[in-house]
Symmetry: C2
Subunit: 201 residues, 2 copies
Amino acid sequence: MQRPSMEFWFEFASTYSYLSVMRVEQAAAAAGVEVRWRPFLLGPVFLALGWNDSPFNIYPPKGRYMWRDLARLADKYGLPFRMPSQFPRSGVLAARVALIGVEQGWVAPFARAVMTANFAEDRPIGERPVIEDILSGLGLPAEAVLAAALTDDNKLALRQQTERAAELGLFGAPNFRVGEELFWGNDRLEDALAWACSAAS
Amino acid sequence: MQRPSMEFWFEFASTYSYLSVMRVEQAAAAAGVEVRWRPFLLGPVFLALGWNDSPFNIYPPKGRYMWRDLARLADKYGLPFRMPSQFPRSGVLAARVALIGVEQGWVAPFARAVMTANFAEDRPIGERPVIEDILSGLGLPAEAVLAAALTDDNKLALRQQTERAAELGLFGAPNFRVGEELFWGNDRLEDALAWACSAAS
């Protein structure tokens, strides 16, 4: 029997990705499922659908609902939440660094720290000093990590991962992918884990 | 202590409303929550957001995902599902009849029968003979009910209910409303029920 696994596609600017980034490791561990982290950028995916901004900004009733829903859900999960003064913030730098974290094995705590900075501490995660500070806080060599994140090869890797997201039919975030099955949204995490377990058994 | 209650806003053309229409009474009864049925039309709500069709048709990746998600969820809930050959179908006549059903106390079985016709039997629920057949199948006087549904007063009542939906900030369906709290989507049914119980205690 194969150990069940699941791809986790998320974007640092995405509100519902915040909830899943904070929850996914614990929920997956409890279910015995391995998580494969897949940071990507929603911007190009949204542009292909005709949106040059977050749909939560383009459609105000949807945005108003989302912020209230997010506050309620954070409360339900026991997660801190403060409405960011800017939305969406660029997740490009954080995603580039996260790719290095996938290679080196520290993506999960890094992603949680960036998401907490964005959605609980209202810090500008698109800016290099904030990311440096987060890396240092995790005991990582910030300068070396950022140098690796900003190589042309790594920038290309993020572009390719984002193109792959579009090929897979992603149109939002977060997503959980189990084999060919796509589960969209924080509220599908448990269904995706159940699918991974049943597919592997 | 007040008996907890919840408004249930749904549209007969809506795929995720299908799941909730089939589940809501049983789940609410188990939680001790009274359901107040609020049929409305998504068409005018979507038009106000700039969509002249279902977003699932306008954005193909979203539509492809939705149909797969719906099939999986129907399976999870033990509900029959067959992809309708036409989507969306007009829910106008069914919603007009449902308003009479709210007054007369048979909206729940009527809504379940119409939703089953649309999403499990691929029947054209926008057409009068189908609605007549459903009413007769429930032992209701189809001609008299349809006459009441098609009065100017009742048509106006549905328009007003749809305007109310927009005022409440609805932008999709189904929705559950508990006091001033709005819960959007079939996957929020359990959260809405928990909120209703805790608000009433």
